[in-house]
């Protein structure tokens, strides 16, 4: 039975968008990550990006997709993300059932880069579907349709995770980890980070330098009031608020101190640090 017009339009409305940025997404390389990624892409190997929140993992993937000229599918994983969410499902449109590819299937079909952000957040059974894609089979079984998709050479799987997480339930099993080429991410060096903040936030070098200084100070509070210090992303947010004309103190409080901490002593200490740096 051929799907009706209504079904086709529903499916196309819900289909996973394959993005391909027109302009180069800004990314400042800090090590050999660009070379490693490019080599892995050529060798058809999956890549794992490790590092703290907001240090540029997602931006890096966007940048690499642009560089390699491949479409990108990003999935932000969450604890309710199931296999069906990745692979696809049947939908009911009117009286028909129609199949809708999930983001992973869509990426495989299109030969895109599929980026599973914070993979450990997803349900455990999702790792099962990515396993056959990460070894020499490079295949995705779509059980419900009885389909066995073989990935084209341009398909690439990229995952990210933050090893700083404290939950034992959120560790990645060695059987999964050992399938990936890994790239370690950390906060960039102060000068590099200042350049990034200045570029992305639209502030002058002096302001960016102070924001980076502040970021560095908060990172020393990791484990002493903070689970994690301010990532580059938070610094960029503060810079953007400052660029809009907000006072630096107010901008840093809103974009850095408040998102980081609830506990009074830590909040106050962060306020003091902001005052001290600006």
């Amino acid at each position: 039975m051929k799907p009706t017009q209504a079904a086709r339009s529903t499916v196309s409305a819900l289909a996973t968008p394959l993005t391909q940025p027109a302009a180069e997404p800004y990314y400042h390389a800090v090590g050999d990550e660009v070379e490693v990624f490019a080599a892995a892409a050529q060798s058809q190997l999956p890549v794992m990006l490790k590092g703290p929140t907001g240090c540029g993992k997602t931006r890096f993937v966007e940048h690499m997709a642009w560089r390699l000229g491949r479409p990108l599918v990003t999935v932000a994983c969450h604890d309710d993300l199931t296999t069906a969410d990745l692979v696809g499902r049947y939908l009911i449109v009117g009286d028909e059932t129609v199949w809708l590819d999930g983001p992973l299937t869509a990426a495989v079909r299109a030969g895109a880069i599929c980026y599973l952000d914070e993979i450990v957040e997803a349900r455990k059974d999702t790792t099962v579907v990515i396993h056959p894609l990460t070894d020499t089979r490079r295949a995705l079984p779509v059980e419900k349709r009885g389909e066995y998709l073989t990935a084209p050479p341009d398909f690439m799987l990229v995952i990210s995770w933050n090893p700083g997480y404290q939950s034992v339930l959120k560790e990645m099993k060695p059987s999964t980890r050992q399938r990936f080429v890994a790239v370690d991410f950390d906060y960039p060096q102060a000068e590099v980070e200042a350049r990034i903040v200045a570029h992305e936030g639209g502030v002058d070098a002096a302001t960016a330098g102070r924001l980076v200084k502040l970021g560095g100070l908060t990172r020393k509070l990791k484990g002493a009031g903070l689970d994690e210090g301010a990532g580059t992303r938070l610094l960029v947010h503060a810079a953007q608020l400052i660029a809009r004309g907000m006072h630096p103190l107010a901008a840093c409080t809103a974009a850095i101190a408040r998102p980081l901490a609830d506990e009074p002593d830590t909040r106050n200490a962060l306020d003091d640090l902001i005052r001290a740096v600006f």
Binding site: V168, L169, G225
Partner: protein
């Protein structure tokens, strides 16, 4: 709770119950009469604290009752803080200390009534200031109260109370300014030059120090300007412009290349022109180079030893790294102001273990760089174990054969000591029923809220039918919808099955420190938090066990079973929790090995070993104390890790617990600086850990 006040005879009866007064032939009549005047809610607070104190010692309860009744009206809302201060003092120094602390607190209260309203006490800002300084320093710094602000380079002393500024905000800021300047004295090398030759030429040493402090403050202000401009702004607001006579000194010392030697040169200048008293500036701190330099010398000796030892091991492992053994003479350390070598051998330092890295960092600060002789090996030949070989300590007589023997890791030999630790496992002693009930009723509200939060974590494996969205089609719903449509009624859009499966396949072992150092508040906090935790985990349905550990040398390592994995959380278990008490020492490695063995037998996917302790590993005789114990424990945790067991540590340690990252790895420990916070925190930590 009813609003009605308690009458004197009711209060008396309650006090009698708490303090067993009749047995002791004491009368609480007078106390009860004093308390009768209070509103009910205050009466209950007093009785609550009497109960708490009586758990520690009956006499303490009696003292608290009589003193508390005396001052309850005056103390008002401050009663809780007042009671706590005395109980904390009692833990350290007994009844007399408690009495003194209570008297002091009352005097303090009376003094503060006469104080200007905007004043701020150190205790109020201590928490935020500590965090603030940790962010600057990278490691925790000690803060303490004193009559004036000064530092010896390791502890920052600050005035107990500041009232100089007009409002509380200003006084808080003044605390920050003082603390930053003290930190800067260590950070920017105020103690790296010996001032004694110059100071000796002054008739009035105090005056000389005051001038020296002033010049250093000028220099440090300029150094701070690039890093913390906000602080320097505050300093300038406080001091106003420098007087014209001081202008040249301030300008010259603001040059980025100015050092303490330049401050000393200005000091000499000042002496020659015949200095008078220094002008007074509100932001200036005290300055004690003598004390600071004494500590600095100790620190340098210790750090360079640590660093040398680590470098030695590393070079033995990797002979290609530079400065092979014995090619340079070991020079006597620290000729002042040694120039630092062009390359700091950064890569080499990076490969060092964390304690050696910390030592290197501290040395760089103390010496303005790293003199080459530290980086050369500690003399010819292989590595010399520093600690002396063990002296077999007198040991408590073990009764019978041990339940298990364990190897122990000797880092000095890089080898195992076979069958070294004798382990005895026994059932934990039973404590009082009433104690647990007391905790449960005292924290009833907290327990309810914790349970509610935990219940929301509990996952069940079930298919939810008739959902708007889901991974499968609900055929029944689909057929119905079809039928509805045919018959002309509106079909339900809920046609899917959503499968919820959140599986918590988790077994947790709590390893509770029962060493002698936990006596008092820490032990109470441990027990209370275990009760709260049990309540919470029961709501969650995780498998868990609780064991206490203590010991006296290697031949007597005790493990107390509080709750095994199969025990239920029943009255007997609760009694054993109440019975947890402070005993001997903390030989941690063997406890980790034994308990991770028990944990390994659990058929769950995730296994977690949570240690609850109040400090580093320690045992009788100085062998296990220090590096040996840490290395052994680390080894034991690594073994556990290989068995698929994750370690996590919750430590009550005011000294910051530098050794924890080394033992547990980053992000796998929490430090709680105050035992009283433990009960509230532990359940929260557990929730986060397993969410």
């Amino acid at each position: 709770m009813s609003e009605r006040k308690l009458f004197a005879h009711e209060i008396e009866a309650r006090l009698d119950e708490l303090l067993l007064l009749k047995l002791r032939q004491r009368s609480a009549e007078r106390t009860a009469r004093q308390l009768e005047a209070l509103p009910r809610i205050r009466q209950e607070r007093v009785l609550h604290w009497v109960g708490v104190a009586a758990q520690g010692a009956n006499e303490l309860g009696w003292l608290l009752a009589s003193q508390g009744a005396e001052y309850a009206v005056e103390l008002g809302d401050g009663f809780d803080a007042w009671a706590r201060a005395g109980l904390a003092a009692h833990d350290g120094g007994g009844l007399d200390a408690a009495r003194a602390a209570w008297r002091l607190a009352i005097e303090e209260l009376r003094a503060s009534a006469a104080r200007p309203s905007g004043s701020v006490a150190l205790a109020e800002v201590e928490g935020r200031l500590k965090r603030f300084l940790q962010a600057l320093h990278g490691r925790p710094l000690r803060l303490a109260g004193a009559s004036r602000a000064w530092t010896d380079g390791e502890t920052l002393w600050l005035p107990e109370r500041l009232a100089r500024a007009a409002d509380a905000n200003g006084n808080r800021r003044l605390y920050t300014v003082l603390a930053v300047q003290l930190w800067a004295q260590g950070r920017f090398g105020s103690f790296n030059v010996d001032p004694e030759p110059e100071l000796a030429q002054w008739a009035d040493r105090e005056m000389a120090l005051a001038w020296f402090a002033l010049f250093e403050a000028m220099r440090l202000e300029a150094r701070l300007e690039t890093e913390l401009p906000g602080i320097v702004r505050d300093i300038r607001d406080l001091r106003g412009p420098w007087p014209a006579a001081l202008q040249p000194a301030a300008e010259s010392l603001a040059r980025p290349e100015a050092t303490t030697a330049d401050s000393l040169a200005w000091l000499a200048e000042q002496r020659k022109v015949g200095a008078g008293e220094t002008p007074i500036f509100p932001h200036l701190t005290g300055f004690d180079p003598l004390a600071a330099r004494r500590l600095r010398a100790v620190r340098i000796a210790r750090d360079s030893k640590t660093l040398r030892r680590a470098l030695n091991i590393m070079r033995a492992v990797d002979p290609h790294s530079r400065g092979g053994a014995g090619d340079r003479e070991q020079a006597p350390l620290a000729a002042e102001g040694d120039a630092l070598p062009p390359d700091l051998q950064a890569e080499e330092l990076q490969g060092l273990p964390p304690d050696a890295q910390a030592a290197a960092q501290s040395l760089q600060q103390d010496l303005d760089g790293m003199p080459p002789e530290i980086l050369s090996p500690a003399g010819p030949g292989a590595w010399q174990p520093e600690e002396r070989e063990e002296s077999e300590a007198p040991v408590a007589e073990p009764d019978g054969r041990p339940d298990a023997v364990y190897d122990e890791w000797d880092y000095r030999r890089e080898a195992w000591r076979r069958d070294w630790c004798h382990l005895y496992e026994s059932e934990g002693p039973a404590g009082e029923d009433a104690w647990v009930e007391g905790v449960r009723s005292r924290h009833a509200h907290l327990i309810r809220s914790i349970r509610r939060r935990f219940e929301s974590l509990r996952g069940e494996d079930k298919a939810e039918r008739r959902q708007l969205d889901g991974e499968e089609i609900d055929l029944d719903a689909q057929v119905e919808a079809r039928a509805d449509r045919r018959s002309g009624s509106e079909p339900s859009p809920r046609l899917f099955i959503h499968r919820r499966q959140i599986e918590r396949s988790l077994a947790v072992m709590f390893m509770v420190d029962m060493s002698g150092s936990t006596k008092g508040w820490v032990n109470d906090a441990e027990r209370e938090s275990l009760v709260l935790l049990c309540e919470a985990i029961e709501a969650l349905g995780d498998r868990y066990a609780i064991y206490g550990f203590s010991g006296w040398a290697r031949t007597r390592c005790d493990i107390y079973r509080i709750k095994s994995f199969t025990d239920r959380y029943d009255a007997a278990t609760r009694r054993r929790i109440a019975g947890i008490e402070a005993r001997d020492y903390t030989r941690m490695g063997v406890a980790v090995r034994h308990l991770s063995g028990l944990l390994q037998g659990q058929a769950t996917r995730h296994k977690l070993l949570v240690t609850l302790s109040d400090g580093r590993p320690d045992d009788h005789g100085d062998e296990y104390r220090g590096r040996y114990g840490i290395e052994d424990t680390r080894r034991a945790l690594l073994e556990a890790r290989e068995k698929g067991i994750r370690g996590y540590c919750v430590t009550i340690d005011r000294h910051g617990a530098d050794y924890l990252p080394q033992l547990y790895g980053p992000a796998h420990y929490s430090v709680i600086d105050d035992a009283k916070k433990l009960p509230r925190k532990l359940a929260e930590i557990y929730r986060k850990l397993t969410a």
